[in-house]
Amino acid sequence: VTLQYGQVLHYLPDFLLGAGMALWIAFVAFCGGLLIGLFGAAMISYAPRPFRWPVIAYVRFFTYTPQLVQIFFLFFALPEFGVTLSPVVAVLIGMTLNAGAYLTEIERAGFASVPQAELDAAETLGFSRAQTVWYVIAPHVIRALYPLHHHDARHLDGRDLRGGGADRARAERQRDLLPLRRDFFDHGRDLRRADHHRVADPVDAWSRAVPREGESVLSAWDIIVR
């Protein structure tokens, strides 16, 4: 058997078309998921208890079952209820709902990571509700979309900065917080416990919302590349 690239290369435009389709589906599903996630996370964080349960059930169901089977169910089982979807629509709906479930979890961690002290401070300063959401809550939610805690610590690893100084101290402090990092499970609680380093850190919250290289902790990035 010989490998003949020429034959495959001939179909390169088709591959590129497929790549474009993949990107387009991922983008649409991610944007839809972001909205669902925002709504779901706000429901879980602020709605009265009975309203939370359906959202929690939705998140559990979609994070505990494979995406492929969800899409199969939409495509093969819904026609029996009289709803026939085209393949693209089934994939889009399936992926959006799936991404929405994961992003609900992630954004919920963001809501949970807003320290009460910051909300109190906003109230003391006379922030309006919109200002509180934009200046206090939004940076936390956006930061939750990135795998910061783990990778910050790796980025600031002492191995690179044996020179010591303030950076070293910051790295040490970050490393102290490592086992509390955000995870698939119970991250809300973990983030809340990890708050005190932010108070000591005068860096503006927005400027820290930068993506770091690497994964292994569930983040928005995982949902795009999955």
Binding site: F61, Y64, P66, R168, P179, D183
Partner: protein, 239 residues
């Protein structure tokens, strides 16, 4: 008849002993390929992560190999990796059974994810611990085993259970090469004429139960392992 009435009428024909036995075997196949693959993958990931430590592998070229492996296989989607293994076996004329192919694919993917996870665990241990161990003339691997690993494993274990969980879900893609795991079993039962609501619904319930058990285990492990003495304030000497 409405859809529900049809399903209720069909249910006794679907939930028979032999169908359930078939699904149980499929569930066993899912668990086998994901758990075995994860075990092998974690062993490989451990070697990869260890080879990346400058204390263990003092040559940059040696450290580049595991980095290449990890970055490559973390970025390839699982389905593509699976088909790659599948067709490579065909290309090399290996008469590999389907379960071996799926375990291999899971193991390769898992090795990349596990290597990152274990590296995170290693790096959560303060470098001073390495310094102290090496100063006391520990050979690097002994320092790793006696000093670093006992501190790193509590960082490593909880995410690894998440990895097993996500692998159980990702093995649904193995149905694409015809390995009879839950998804493929549901597909076969659908083609045998059962309602897709029943077959895929059962598949979803089975996956949900397995994931539920694993997630509870992970939550329990995380709660146990992250219980540590109250947060420490960095000593003024470090500032």
């Amino acid at each position: 008849m409405s859809t529900w009435q049809i399903i209720v009428a069909e249910a006794p024909r679907f939930f028979t002993y032999w169908n359930m036995l078939f699904l149980a075997e499929a569930l066993l196949n899912t668990l086998l390929s994901s758990v075995l693959g994860c075990a092998v993958g974690y062993a490989m990931g451990f070697v990869l992560a260890t080879l990346r430590l400058p204390e263990v592998a003092p040559f940059a070229a040696l450290r580049a190999l595991p980095i290449l492996w990890v970055e490559l296989f973390r970025r390839i989607p699982f389905l593509v990796l699976l088909l790659l293994v599948f067709f490579l076996c065909q290309f090399l004329r290996l008469e590999a059974p389907l379960w071996a192919i799926s375990v291999t694919a899971v193991a390769i993917r898992m090795s990349a994810l596990a290597a990152e996870n274990i590296r995170g665990g290693y790096e959560s241990v303060r470098p001073t611990q390495w310094d102290a161990a090496l100063t006391m003339n520990f050979p690097p691997l002994l320092a790793l085993r006696r000093v670093v690993l006992p501190q790193a494993w509590r960082v490593i274990v909880p995410p690894s259970i998440v990895h097993v969980l996500s692998m159980v879900k990702e093995t649904s893609l193995v149905s694409q090469i015809g390995f009879i795991e839950i998804t493929f079993a549901a597909k076969m039962l659908t083609q045998r004429g059962f309602s897709a609501i029943l077959t895929y619904g059962t598949a979803l319930v089975l996956y949900f139960c397995v994931s539920w058990v694993l997630a509870s285990l992970g939550r329990w492990a995380e709660r146990r392992l992250t219980r540590r003495p109250g947060a420490t304030v960095p000593s003024p000497a470090l500032l």
